[in-house]
Subunit: 701 residues, 2 copies
């Protein structure tokens, strides 16, 4: 099988081979006696369920008109992003999710898969598209009803109507329920009066608000008949045809940001702005002409979360875009590391390729493993999203699982993106700091992904609360003896429903005869036991520490919870890491080609072991690993890194990026050409007999 894989493999690097025909990567799997991956098959695996749409999007953005221009001043960048949006809409990229009657494909998964790839062109384009179609358009589509769809969906798709998504306020970011903007119903005129009562209630950080938006979907506290029915969404025109604010509306430009400067973020405020009653996007709550409020969802809390949940696609998209952006950074850094030489080893005259350094393998390869895990996890998230939004599996439980899964994965992938891009930039030294090599721009643009669409820590706290409530559900009505029995076998069995843990359905073949005994104790099933056991125990410990809360005053209970906030977030992170590991494992176990499966299993092991190493102190303190096995974890990671080193180029080639996606000169083969030229210079100089001798050799004489 391994041989077959080799024979069928056409090196993806060949497209970057410089004119001279020398291979760009001097250290390839072909040089090793190990099995190797089928690069094309792994590309299919990574692109996942909607691979065709992704390929289509990637093909489109080969056009330089879509590319980020480094150092472009903000004003020009904003206009460029807008023009790219029009190109995208013209290419049909803006309506994959819409029903057929609005010219769409009714394909929610494909829609997000296509948008995620835009991060390769310019993250500003990805996010501005997200603002227009994923937030503003989705608010109309998901929170509105047929009259709204008929009126606005077409013009939103074709960009004759550009809009802002006015949810966040200067004074309220992630805590949407507490926003200050009010929408008070006036039965006399059958209008809502949108009003900003104080400076902290200005809408803020809104894409399309500074310049391009002519309308907004505004979230406000709906008040009718003297009762506040909570946050609802209203369609509010903002600007006239000349781009001037309509009466009662004001705003400010947010100005320069750390990145994403192709998007015109701004602030908005409303001074008793009146909109017709019909402008309430009334899918989940409505107001009759006489002011009577009605909703199919009786509980205000559930109604609020249902409305917000309808907009979950932002988090799903960010998870995917962060994953793809991370892949680009790894492609650049590992390709360069495979060509760049620095310092001789002391063992000969030739300088050492960066990726041959132990430290360089250690700093980059675990990040590669992690990124692979993110791809598999994102595809799972995307499938769950598609299931719910297509209606195929649209149950309250599935919706809740989808939201929990998105809230778990988005924080990890966006933080991983920043960590990985930064490590990649540093691994490329001064070249990594040049804008042309893309890494600094990627970091700048993706920076805000960790705090928008739900701050990462806030999202993980939500996940943590879900874990606690699932845990509590297990024991509702159970007696003390059951609880004690449970405590005795905490690592066994499925604990959390839904977006939770799964049992491994199979034992895994033991690859390779060189496995050492200690490694045998760190294989797939033990990794799963360690990772899952940690989540279970962390949640159980938290539940135990929080149990007294029910007997405390609200203030004391809040203080107790606050004391455990960091641990709750850590438990949620552990859960999300487990989900990524499980998705990676499921993906690997589906692979049929033995060589591919062999190498990807090493990579999955590297991911699993890196997680265990990161939390090693916990495993040791909690008696899950002995000091001896604990010490073996790091050594096993060193060995896995060395084993994977010859496969590094194959593994980043498998991302399937074309030169038009990479664009970084240091990953273009230019570095290899420079190295070859320098070595040839010294070779010819030595052969000429005219080379200066070293001072050292002189002294020896």
């Amino acid at each position: 099988m391994a041989d077959a894989a080799v024979r069928s493999y056409k090196p993806a690097t060949s497209k970057r081979t410089p004119a001279g025909g020398a291979p760009t990567a001097p250290h390839t799997a072909a040089e090793a006696s190990d099995p190797r991956i089928d690069v094309a098959a792994v590309t299919d695996l990574l692109l996942g369920t909607w691979g065709d749409t992704r390929r289509e999007a990637r093909e489109m953005i080969k056009d330089p008109a879509f590319w980020r221009v480094e150092g472009m001043p903000m004003a020009e960048h904003r206009e460029r992003a807008l023009s790219q949006m029009h190109l995208l809409a013209d290419a049909g990229g803006s309506r994959r999710n819409l029903p057929e009657e609005y010219g769409g494909l009714n394909d929610n998964g494909a829609n997000l898969a296509g948008f995620m790839e835009l991060v390769l062109a310019d993250p500003s384009l990805q996010i501005k598209s997200g603002v227009q179609w994923g937030l503003f358009g989705s608010a109309v589509f998901q929170l509105g009803t047929k009259k709204h769809h008929d009126r606005w969906l077409q013009s939103i798709a074709d960009l004759t109507l550009l809009g802002a998504f006015a949810m966040t306020e200067t004074g309220h970011g992630s805590d949407v329920a507490a926003i200050g903007t009010t929408a008070t119903y006036d039965p006399e005129t059958e209008e809502f009066v949108i009003h900003t009562p104080f400076r902290g209630a200005w809408k803020d950080y809104l894409g399309n608000a500074a310049l391009h938006g002519t309308a907004a979907t505004v979230f406000a506290q709906l008040i009718t008949g003297g009762v506040n029915y909570g946050v609802h969404c209203f369609f509010v025109p903002l600007r006239d045809e000349d781009g001037a604010f309509l009466p009662g509306i004001g705003g400010e430009d947010d100005g320069v940001k750390g990145g994403l400067n192709g998007i015109d973020n701004g602030r908005l405020h409303f001074d008793h702005v009146r909109v017709p009653r019909e402008n309430l996007l009334n899918r989940y709550g409505d107001v009759a002409a006489d002011g009577t409020y009605s909703s199919e969802i009786p509980t205000p809390g559930r109604r609020f979360f249902t409305m917000l949940g309808a907009l979950v696609q932002g988090r799903v998209s960010l998870d995917g875009a962060a994953t793809t952006g991370t892949a680009l950074a790894l492609h650049i850094a590992l390709t360069y590391a495979n060509q760049r030489r620095q310092f001789d080893s002391g063992a000969g005259s030739d300088e050492v390729v960066l990726l041959d350094y132990g430290k360089h393998q250690r700093r980059l390869l675990p990040l590669l493993a992690q990124n692979y895990a993110q791809f598999f996890a994102n595809d799972e998230l995307l499938r769950k999203f598609d299931g719910v939004f297509s209606g195929r599996s649209d149950t309250p439980e599935e919706r809740e699982d989808l939201e929990t899964l998105a809230a778990a994965l988005k924080p990890l992938s966006t933080w991983n993106a920043l960590d990985t891009i930064q490590e990649a930039r540093e691994a490329c030294g001064g070249s990594g700091f040049l804008a042309e090599n893309r890494l600094v721009g990627l970091h700048q643009d993706l920076d805000v992904y960790v705090t928008f669409e739900g701050d990462n820590n806030v999202l993980l706290q939500l996940v943590g609360k879900r874990l606690l409530s699932d845990y509590a559900t297990q024991f509702r009505g159970k007696d003390a003896a059951t609880l004690a029995r449970y405590a005795a076998r905490q690592t066994a069995g499925k604990l959390f429903h839904g977006a939770g843990l799964r049992q491994l359905g199979q034992t895994v073949a033991d690859f390779g005869s060189t496995a050492r005994s200690v490694e045998l104790g760190l294989r797939e099933d033990q990794q799963h036991e360690l990772l899952a056991g940690r989540v279970q125990q962390m949640v159980a410990d938290l539940a135990a520490r929080l149990r007294p809360a029910s007997k405390l005053s609200p203030a004391e209970a809040a203080a107790l919870f606050n004391q455990n906030q960091s641990e709750l977030i850590e438990a949620a992170r552990a859960h999300a890491e487990l989900l990524q590991w499980e998705a990676f494992t499921d993906g690997v176990n589906k692979v049929e080609d033995a060589g591919t499966r062999h190498v990807l299993t090493w990579l999955r092991d590297l991911f699993g072991l890196s997680l265990i190493e990161k939390h090693l102190a916990w495993y040791l303190i909690n008696g899950r690993l002995s000091a001896q096995r604990g010490g073996a974890v790091s050594r096993y990671i060193d060995r896995l890194s060395a084993r994977l080193r010859p496969h590094a180029q194959d593994l980043v080639d498998a991302y399937g990026f074309a030169p038009e996606h990479v664009r970084a000169p240091i990953a273009s083969g230019a570095e290899q050409a420079r190295q070859d030229e320098a070595r040839e210079y010294y070779r010819a100089l030595a052969a000429s007999g005219t080379a200066p001798v070293s001072e050292k050799s002189l002294k020896k004489k």
Copy 2:
């Protein structure tokens, strides 16, 4: 004593109190029954030995002409930075280090202390100043002799001569010894011929090279009489009066970078460019008219390191600037965290101040502790630098110690800067992403500090090798019995000479009656024992693993070393952490005011415990901490964070920044004013009796 401190304390926050007179920080030490710090005294402590010069520099940069303008396009930013340099030179800021005969103060410590502060104005100004005076000027001053000083020092100081420091090449960053540029002596014309033999030998990433430099100090392999005497430095004119390259010289603009775009970085190459023999900066090596080479330093290796060592001030400066930049980020994030409210706690109607969240304390306060440690460590480094460069303690041992200390501290402080600025930016949410709030710009500018002036990993590897060689020195000529005895008491005593460990000279008073027994085991002397013991054992373990190298072939020895490269770097990091901890401890122990000493001791404990928590797995695996004590470390950190919370504003006020240094609107008191306005709105609304009732309360009826 604590009471006295309170009485003598005038709140530094008062200068930022908004017009209404309300305090900007709602949670102050004054509210707590705990002791509190004397803010002004702590400012003195942090500003250190050259506090007067720092204050002078801070006063100068209150002028908005020195400030970074967010979003300014590269071309304008470059001209602005140049104009700022002229302002700086006119203010006398460019010659503090020069001898009196050149109009200077002959004060090396003050010189660097003044430059470090420029990071608050615009890091581009700090680094462009560093290029002109710290690198180009220092090369002439430190590597040249009187004829060079007489000819160029004045015009370098007053900016009639701007220059590039042409060391780094596209193909060789940190490995300077391997650069490709040649300087071949021609006795016929008594000239050196400077030549770039291949593309990888182009000089690259050079500040002042793209536009402003009219000359450069060029590092090249000196070849005379057919012998290569290694890297030397030459003064090479670059441009004519119109800014055009002189014959034989070419170059390119490096273009947009991830930050520091006020500096015109560029590339240079030389096609047989001839300079007079006198242009060799000949302090450490000279060539006679007939081509005979001479040097006071016979060994090529030592000569090379002496020349490079003369330029150590770059690393010292970066350590200080990174420390000050980190302080600015913490000032902004903690001031905001002390005013901003988000989410109610569930215990009442009021929203919670960010810094009251357990997670928020956990994410920011250990970084504050770490930054304090950096200040104390940098002052120690600066004093050592001043001692050597003033000639007061200029011995080969002191020079080597200085270089090791700089190589240890610069990596930690620059990495800490990036980590802290990023955490600060995330802790400020969307506001943190706006350029006006400074955090993103700081991250962008300081990014390259971790890889220039010596890549951080390369520097730590140098430190690691020094630790190994010091270790070996201990045992030279010792018999097996001595070694065995040594192994039995590895944590005792002073192991490494010079920039190494020190014994604590005193036991420390036991503050506070609430100390728990487990905390008693984690006080000052135990922290030192744990941190120092780790360094000692890591080095000993490495030495043992590397011992077989002497019996291996060069290639096998190189492979063995490479397998241990990560651990060597980790050992060096542990050493540098210990140095920071020791400097912090020495600083705290000098404090006389009891309240200040009390709070700073908590902060030092937080730093020490955070280091131990970071490496907890190591301590557990190596039997240095039991699982029980290991588990207590995190709980103790939680308690220390809560204890330090009321002091957070005092501790960042003690940085002594004026509003002209901070400039971030979110740390100006505007957030407090917004919060006050919103709360007053809701209070008045409730009092009016016209507030809408909640839907929930309606259902209860």
